[in-house]
Symmetry: C2
Subunit: 362 residues, 2 copies
């Protein structure tokens, strides 16, 4: 822990399950602390604070507005349902709070543009909660993917994130409710697939997106399972599959002309302090085609802080720069959010249109 | 090695690269031996025999017909270009030779039906050269996939087989020639992807196949890279990608409601005598969603004989049964070949039609 005076003071806007993990991350990050928490009622916020072992100094608010009016709050973490992002992120920015915003960032790119615009006007940092971007493994994977000698030119990517939701989740979770997280599995687990594909493509948007037949929607039209195929110039392609209906799986595979990268836990590593990925380079066979030469190898990366604490630390660093040096907010993060949301919108449009090809216009 | 008198005597019809591997497999299989080899010229066949250390007792023929006329030949291995399968498999069957036929088995399912029909008429066993089917790992994977407690209901499959062909291959190999292996990468590496998907689906054909945009064809229209999405009843899906243009990759992922299977070397294991696959069952997270519980585990399977020798042994056993007990040829194997070819035809038709959905009619 650093000096409390230099730590970025977070307000937590809502007590969703994910807020527990991020609260711990704020506590773990050396340059951040929890200053206040709120929910739709003070009782609920107090219960959340107690259950998660918050210090008694943490302020409990009974409304989102009250927390946003606390002048000591530097930044807010917003884990609210997606349908509430536009309203509360806008208000937070207007109150000069820097914003760590859960994914999906908005119901569509237009809404997100509105949020990003008000953040820019008010000189506040905006970053989404895609934790794995901040794991040191991610930077190591990028090194491999950028290495023309080991990976060559990118050809295709496949990404998959599924988990088997309990019956109660499929009935009651906000992620299956059309008025709350209307993007369902596409907005939740699909978000990570889309970001991972963008990550491998160096954030170059695809030209075309085609949702694959076989998407499963619930009675309200919320996506429970879907996939898509994407297309770039020069025949480069990607596919993804996301679902609430299948056993937990988190695959990212990137194949280049000279190399292959595999990771099976790209969103949340198997363990907090160590994560790995596998690479093959110029892989071939022996003379009789009976074994691989060279055999692909595993890279293991350790980290003292879990990826969510690294995310908070990175965000808090940017907030500190804005606060103390008057730095302009880092545009990289909202740009990545926007691109992810744009592809998400295209997949949704393709499904809504009956699995038609949709052009992505940056 | 068993008693020579009880061993099935193979004739090798053509000296393709793959014939070297299968010749070794015939030598390794305890119930098989190489009796004769032929090519378009006796010189070529003699050179092949010498280079591969065949015993001097192996007969060298200068024409395919001559080998088929050798009454001592029980079975032939046919590694000829796909466009020659119909002619030579038909003639071999008419000469009462049992047939181990390289994949793809034919240029289309109609051709294959003709081959299968003549084999049936002449009471000869027909089996294709899909070696990985015979690895003990494959049976172990099937045990997991069939286990409702560990795997649950199948939801989706992804299969990928790519390798980076050398410039010379892309110019001169039979697999890029429209008059030889006209099915290109789809018939070669794609064959394995399709078979692996069928394997996971217990050989239930998909209802629909949709080739994905982004297929790469050479100047003669031969497929160098392609993929497709497939659809069964109840929202079950599969995707595959195959290519001559990307680094060696061999992935099979099957996801059920309760379990996930991963294998990264499904066609040719990394090593001959040991192969593994990974399974996750009822995988979830700890309370704070910071790590996986339980962590997926690896299954390692040893084998004394390489999978291609196990294939030869299985085939030779069936031939021996037909020879000595007058058993009817095992229909399972040509049935699997036919189903694989049918999906292959559907993918090809989808590409040829401009990436349109194609129904698969069994």
């Amino acid at each position: 822990m650093g000096d409390r005076g230099n730590q970025i003071r977070f307000g937590i806007l809502g007590c969703a399950g994910i807020a527990r993990k991020v609260s711990r991350a704020i506590t773990l990050a050396p340059n951040a602390l929890i200053h206040a928490v709120t929910s739709r009622s003070a009782d609920k916020a107090a219960k959340f604070a107690a259950e998660n072992g918050f210090p008694s100094t943490v302020k409990i608010y009974g409304s989102y507005e009250a927390l946003l009016d606390d002048a000591q709050v530097d930044a807010v973490y917003i884990p609210l349902p997606t349908s509430l992002h536009l309203k509360w992120a806008t208000l937070a920015a207007q109150k000069k709070k820097h914003i760590l915003l859960e994914k999906p960032v908005a119901l569509n790119a237009d809404q997100f543009d509105s949020i990003a615009h008000v953040c820019e006007e008010n000189h506040v940092q905006l970053m989404d909660g895609t934790m794995w971007m901040h794991h040191p493994r991610t930077a190591k994977m990028k090194e491999f993917l950028s290495d023309a000698g080991r990976f060559g030119q990118l050809k295709t990517v496949h990404s998959c994130f599924t988990f088997a939701a309990e019956p109660d989740f499929l009935k009651n979770d906000i992620r299956v409710k059309p008025d709350l997280d209307a993007l369902g599995a596409l907005g939740d687990v699909g978000w990570y697939c889309l970001r991972s594909i963008l990550f491998v493509f160096d954030y170059e948007l695809p030209k075309k997106v085609l949702a694959l037949p076989g998407a499963v929607l619930n009675e309200y039209g919320v996506i429970l399972s879907c996939g898509a195929s994407m297309h770039w110039d020069d025949g480069r392609t990607a596919t993804f599959h996301c679902s609430f209906l299948s056993n937990l799986t988190m695959d990212l595979t990137a194949i280049g002309t000279k190399g292959t990268l595999h990771v099976r836990d790209f969103v949340i590593p198997y363990e907090e302090h160590e994560a790995s990925f596998s690479v093959g380079t110029k892989t071939g066979f022996d003379d009789l085609v009976t074994r691989w030469i060279p055999r692909p190898g595993e890279h293991v990366i350790s980290t003292d802080l879990p990826q969510e604490a690294l995310m908070v630390r990175e965000f808090a660093n940017l907030v500190a720069d804005a606060k103390t040096k008057g730095s302009v907010p880092e545009k990289k993060w909202p740009t990545l959010s926007r691109k992810t949301q744009m592809i998400l919108d295209a997949v949704k449009a393709s499904i809504d249109g009956g699995f038609v090809p949709v052009e992505v216009v940056g």
